[in-house]
Structures are given as structure tokens and as C-alpha cells.
């Protein structure tokens, strides 16, 4: 018999979900914060960053992809899970070249935001200092792969919302990287400044040119609060 409501618990609090909702959607509706990074409303969740992991009935899973199930017992805000999240975010920082002091996304960066939220003040893992490229060929958009965290938002947004396939992933494992079609520069693609993909990047990889630092210190997203309900990425 199908039910029109599902009831389960997150950290002991009873939560109601609609059938088909994920644990993250139900938590959001109940105003329970689950840290998240690669998730973007309007895209199909795929759990790539794994920051939203929870323990459901004793098993770790990403809450953005995990359907809510009747009677499920979810652990979210526990020291054990937050420590996993810190490790994951830590690795994202050291695997790229995140020079926050000179990054124009600083203060509005969702990676920074989730680090603030988890209380990370400095990475504990050694910096990898990878060699990454920049692409300034497009007249309106600057691409800085030093800061890419492989969240796939741009790949999905360009494909699913803009109807273009400007971005893709190439390589596997530690060699995986964001790319555009082989031999092309950004200026050679269909990318346009009005495309939704331009606002989809959580970090400082896809940037509108010539507007950096227009928002003063004190008025940036994470100057005001460490983890706003709706992270801003414009």
C-alpha cells in the first residue's frame, strides 16, 4: 500500500517527507541543515562531492541521492560525520590551488562557506600544488582551473539547462579534470555570458570578467553568515 507521507528521523527529530523526496530535500523542508557543496537545485543530484553524507540506518550515504524511507534513522550532525566532511573538504582544498587571499570569489565561495561551517581554519593534508591552466580567451568569461573542485555543476548546467555541452570531464582518478572539447579554447565554444552555467560554479573557476571585487568586504555572502540557506553563486 502506497503512503502519501513518509516519516523518519534525523538526529532523533521526526521528519516528514513526500514519497520520492531525498533525505536532503526532506531535511531542507524541515529546516534541518545538512552541509552540501555540489548540489544545485534544478540539476540531478549525483553525490560527487560527498559533503552531504549522512549515516542512514548505520550506513554512510550521500543525502542528496538517498531517497527518504519510512522509519529510516538518519544521523547527520555528529562528530563522526562532520569529521568525514572535514576530511573531504580538506582534500578539495589541497588538491587544487585555492589562493583565497587573491581570489575574487573569496567571501562568496561555497567551498569557503562549507569550510567555515565545518570549522576548518587550515588544511591538515599537504598541498598538492597541481599544475592547472587558465583560459582567458573568451571575451566575457575567465576560466581558472586552479580552483576547480570537479563538482560537475557546470557540466550538468551547460548540458541540461543551457542545452550546450561546453564542459566535460576527461581523465580518471587523480588525472580527472574539467575540459572543453579537445584543441579548443573557451572562445571557440558556444558559451555566452547569459548562459546559466556562468552562475553555477560554487568556487572561482568560471568567472565573469571585469567584475571581480565589486562587492566590498563585509557585504559578501559569507561575511554576513557562515552558511546561508541559499548559497549565492553569481
Amino acid at each position: 500500500m502506497s503512503k502519501d507521507k513518509i516519516t523518519f528521523t534525523i538526529d532523533g527529530c521526526e521528519v516528514t517527507a513526500q514519497p520520492g523526496q531525498t533525505v536532503m530535500q526532506a531535511a531542507d523542508a524541515a529546516n534541518i541543515r545538512i552541509p552540501q557543496l555540489c548540489y544545485l537545485e534544478g540539476l540531478t543530484p549525483h553525490g560527487s562531492c560527498r559533503v552531504c553524507i549522512v549515516k542512514a540506518n548505520g550506513r554512510l550515504d550521500t543525502s542528496c541521492t538517498l531517497p527518504a524511507v519510512e522509519g529510516m534513522v538518519v544521523e547527520n550532525n555528529t562528530e563522526e560525520i562532520n569529521e568525514y566532511r572535514r576530511d573531504l573538504v580538506d582534500m578539495l582544498f589541497v588538491e587544487g590551488n585555492h589562493i583565497c587571499p587573491s581570489c575574487e570569489k573569496s567571501g562568496d565561495c561555497e567551498l569557503q562557506g562549507v569550510a567555515y561551517e565545518l570549522g576548518i581554519t587550515a588544511p591538515k593534508y599537504p598541498y598538492q600544488f597541481p599544475r592547472r591552466e587558465t583560459d582567458a580567451s573568451h571575451p566575457d568569461i575567465f576560466l581558472d582551473l586552479n580552483r576547480c573542485i570537479l563538482c560537475a555543476r557546470c557540466v550538468q548546467t551547460s548540458r541540461d539547462l543551457d542545452g550546450k555541452t561546453v564542459f566535460e570531464f576527461v581523465g580518471r582518478g587523480p588525472d580527472k579534470k574539467l575540459a572543453i572539447r579537445p584543441g579548443a579554447r573557451l572562445a571557440d565554444t558556444e558559451l555566452d555570458i547569459t548562459d546559466q552555467v556562468v552562475g553555477s560554479c560554487p568556487v572561482g573557476t568560471i568567472l565573469k570578467k571585469r567584475v571581480g571585487f565589486a562587492v566590498p568586504v563585509g557585504e559578501r555572502t559569507y561575511d554576513k553568515e557562515p552558511h546561508p540557506e541559499q548559497p549565492v553563486s553569481e
Binding site: S102, K209, P216, V217
Partner: protein
């Protein structure tokens, strides 16, 4: 040079911004053969900003320094104004930047006078080093020490209100600034203004009285007649934020005047020597031997025709009267002139805080894109040059930064040589006090050695003494 008999190393040179060392070579009779200030750090900012987008540069390049980042921030922003085709900012934007710059000058000069140089002036160059330090000042002169801290704090608050943070703000953007000064921010600064002005007047008096009292000793200490360089306003007034270059000889004759920043390469040349990471610039028309010069407070006061704030102008006139209106070449007079500028800065801050333009929202302009820019600003330590080329894709492809301490490189080396000859020459034994004289001479310039090589690392400086076979015989080093 024949083989020196002894080599003295002072490492690290203390109470300066940056990491460097002094080597003094002596012959068998303990006569000084050669003394050098080596800058031993290297950082490479000019290289690694290549490829970065131009609007990032004002924020990135200020990371050269934690003491006067505002100077780099504003100088880079002035260059980027040109890149975006803006030659004249809106009144609000220019005044907000100027306010930031005067706040920076005020805090940096206060820091140097009270924290770095006052132990030498208050206790004497060869006083017991256990007392001759900032803790000693706090113990013996608590009111003065507190004044120093509060004056620096005030300057830092001005910086925070204008560029967003006390250190490494983001306020200046190409073509303008990103925020006005709110009434609330202004009202936080107003109550302490008169107190700061009063303290600034008193501080000028300390520096002036010290110089007058010790004039006989100071007039020859580390002193050489030099050329002086600074930017000045079109009417000849001291202007720390903007203007054209003027150079005068030791006697006050104009070497050049009205030189636009973009023309600097026609007038200056930089020489590289293999024993220092810091370059040696000189005035082209005078050549390598005669063309070296000084920058900074002493040069600015010597070079300008007047100061456009009343209290500082009165002090300038008194200062210039000492040399009958000719340039004053006494190295230790840097301290006095630095305090005249401290007073000028707070007078300017007062003027600006009462200006309603600062609350205007007319903050950013744009013009026709250019590919090359040179900007010059008078940083607390002297003229700061930023030169950039930006390609049509908005990436920086060339950067050349000549910072104040680099301009003063030959002058500091000459001062070190002079002090070594006057105070170490022929001495059978070298004391800490004698070696401190060398540091006192360097400190007069308030050098920022990290900036000068765009260098990374801890800040101390070292002095070494070598014998004629190159053996180290003395070394002064403080953590």
C-alpha cells in the same frame, strides 16, 4: 679589491621590515675596505602575476607586504584605472582612496617611529640592548608607547573603513572604489581625530627636538649629499597619492620636473649586482656613479615647494630653514620629516572626513581599454612604481615594480659604508653598540626589505665582519 683582512656580519639587521644582512670587510689594520647591505630574500611577484586577470592585481600584489599593503593596492589600482581607460576618478572615489592612503601613511609612520626607531633615539645608539627595544620603551616611557599603539590603531581603523579590512582590503578596483564611507563609519573616526592631531604635533616636536639636541653628532652620521626624487602635485605641493616626478640635486637644483609616470624608463635605469636580490636604480642622465638618489619622507620634504596643510607646512618651513631652504641631506633627518608627514596625513584625514563627497555613490568609471600602464604613488617609505602590460584577453603579460627601498638601495649601502668607516674603522674590538650604529643608519630609511625583493620570509637582518682572508670574525644576529 685586494683580499680583505676581516669580515663582520650583522645578521639579522633588526627593527626593519624584511630580511637582510650587512657584511663589512676589513684589512689587517682593521681599516674598513667595503661595507654592503645584502638583501637575501626573493619572492618573484613580478613573474607570478603574469597570466592573472588585471582586476585581480590590486588585491594580489598588495600581499607583498603586511605593513603598507595599501600602497601596493592603490598603486596597482591606479595602473588598472589606466588599463580601463580612466584618467580621472570620480571625486568620491579619489577621496576615498586618498583617505585610505593617508590612514596608511599615518599608521606606518607611527609604527616606525614608536616601535622601530624610538629605542635608538630614547636610549642612545649604544645603550644596553636589553633595554634598547620596544619593551624598554613601554617600561620607561609608557605614555609614549601607548600613544604609538593608539596612533597606529587609528590609522588602521581609517584603512578598514575605506578598503574593508585593516590589512589586505579590496576597496580599490579598476576605475574607482567598491564602497563609499558611510556616515556610521565616519562617525566612529571623528571622536578621536583631535587627539590624534594633538599627538602628531607632539611627536613632530620629539623628532625635531632630538635632531636639534644631537645636531652636531647627527649631521655627519651616515650622511652623504644625494639627489632626491619624489612625485609632486602640479603646483609643486607635496602629494602622496598622485603627481609627476621631480628630482633635485643635493644643492636643490632641478634635475628633472613634471615627468609623467609613463615616462619613467626615459629617466631611470635599474642595475643588477650579483651580491643582492635588490636592484640598484639610478637617474639615467647622471649615470651609474652620480645618478643614485634617495626617496621617502626626507626627499619628499626636500623636493616639494610646500605642504598644503597648515600645521605640517609650518613644520616644513622650520625644517627647511635649518639648511636655508636647500635640501637637507642629514640621513637621521628622515625621522623628523617622517613625523612632519605623519602630521600632514592626519590633517588630510581631518579634511577628508568632513567632506560629504565620501558618502557619494558615484564610485566607478570606465573608458576605452588600454594595454599598458605605469602608476606612481608615494608610499610611506618613498616612491613606488608599478608598470604593467595587459593583453587583449585581460591577462597581465609584464610587470615591473620598483619599490621605495629599492630606490634607496645605493643610499643605504653608502650609509652603511660611511658608518662603518666612522665607527668601526681601526677599532681593535667591535662592540654591539658600534655595530648597532650600522643598523641605526639602515633604520633611518625605514626599509621594507621584503617589498624590495618582493621577498618571502621572516623579517630579521644580520651584520658580519670578515678578516682579510675572508674569515668571519664577528657576527651580530638577533631573532
Amino acid at each position: 679589491m685586494s683580499a680583505p683582512a676581516k669580515r663582520v656580519i650583522i645578521e639579522p639587521v633588526t627593527r626593519v621590515e624584511g630580511h637582510g644582512k650587512v657584511s663589512i670587510y676589513m684589512d689587517e689594520q682593521n681599516r674598513v675596505q667595503q661595507a654592503r647591505l645584502h638583501i637575501v630574500e626573493f619572492r618573484g611577484f613580478e613573474r607570478f602575476i603574469q597570466g592573472r586577470p588585471y582586476w585581480e592585481v590590486p588585491v594580489l600584489v598588495q600581499r607583498l607586504c603586511g605593513i603598507c599593503p595599501v600602497s601596493h593596492h592603490l598603486c596597482a589600482a591606479k595602473a588598472m584605472d589606466q588599463i580601463v581607460g580612466v584618467d580621472k576618478l570620480t571625486p568620491a572615489a579619489e577621496k576615498i582612496r586618498r583617505l585610505a592612503h593617508y590612514g596608511q601613511t599615518f599608521q606606518s609612520h607611527a609604527l616606525h617611529f614608536f616601535h622601530l626607531c624610538s629605542p635608538d633615539l630614547l636610549f642612545g645608539f649604544d645603550a644596553d640592548p636589553a633595554i634598547r627595544n620596544v619593551i624598554g620603551v613601554i617600561r620607561e616611557y609608557p605614555d609614549l608607547a601607548k600613544q604609538g599603539v593608539l596612533m597606529r590603531k587609528y590609522g588602521q581603523e581609517v584603512i578598514k573603513a575605506t578598503v574593508g579590512k585593516k590589512i589586505h582590503g579590496t576597496g580599490a578596483i579598476p576605475g574607482g572604489v567598491n564602497k563609499p564611507l558611510s556616515v556610521a563609519e565616519r562617525d566612529v573616526l571623528l571622536p578621536d581625530l583631535e587627539q590624534m592631531l594633538e599627538w602628531a604635533v607632539a611627536t613632530v616636536k620629539i623628532a625635531k627636538d632630538y635632531t636639534a639636541e644631537h645636531l652636531e653628532t647627527l649631521k655627519d652620521f651616515a650622511t652623504s649629499p644625494t639627489n632626491h626624487v619624489s612625485i609632486v602635485r602640479q603646483d609643486g605641493a607635496m602629494d602622496l597619492y598622485d603627481g609627476n616626478l621631480r628630482a633635485v640635486s643635493p644643492e636643490g637644483e632641478r634635475i628633472f620636473d613634471g615627468v609623467k609616470p609613463m615616462e619613467y624608463t626615459d629617466y631611470f635605469q635599474e642595475e643588477v649586482r650579483d651580491w643582492s636580490y635588490m636592484k640598484f636604480p639610478f637617474i639615467k642622465s647622471l649615470g651609474r656613479e652620480e645618478g643614485w638618489y634617495r626617496v621617502g619622507p626626507l626627499s619628499r620634504v626636500n623636493v616639494c615647494d610646500f605642504i598644503d596643510t597648515p600645521a605640517a607646512e609650518k613644520e616644513r618651513q622650520e625644517f627647511m630653514a635649518l639648511t636655508n631652504g636647500k635640501p637637507n641631506n642629514i640621513t637621521m633627518a628622515y625621522h623628523w620629516t617622517r613625523m612632519i608627514e605623519l602630521l600632514h596625513a592626519i590633517e588630510k584625514i581631518r579634511e577628508l572626513l568632513h567632506d560629504p563627497d565620501l558618502q557619494s555613490d558615484d564610485l566607478v568609471l570606465q573608458g576605452e581599454r588600454r594595454e599598458e600602464a605605469v602608476a606612481i604613488i608615494e608610499a610611506p617609505r618613498g616612491s613606488l612604481f608599478h608598470h604593467y602590460q595587459v593583453n587583449e584577453q585581460d591577462e597581465v603579460v609584464m610587470a615591473n615594480l620598483i619599490v621605495s627601498t629599492t630606490h634607496n638601495n645605493t643610499a643605504m649601502n653608502t650609509a652603511v659604508q660611511r658608518v662603518a668607516e666612522d665607527h668601526l674603522d681601526g677599532q681593535p674590538e667591535l662592540t654591539e653598540g658600534m655595530l648597532n650604529h650600522v643598523e641605526v643608519a639602515i633604520r633611518a630609511y625605514d626599509p621594507c626589505l621584503s617589498c624590495a625583493t618582493h621577498a618571502l620570509g621572516q623579517m630579521p637582518l644580520v651584520v658580519s665582519l670578515f678578516d682579510h682572508q675572508g674569515n668571519l670574525i664577528a657576527r651580530k644576529s638577533k631573532a
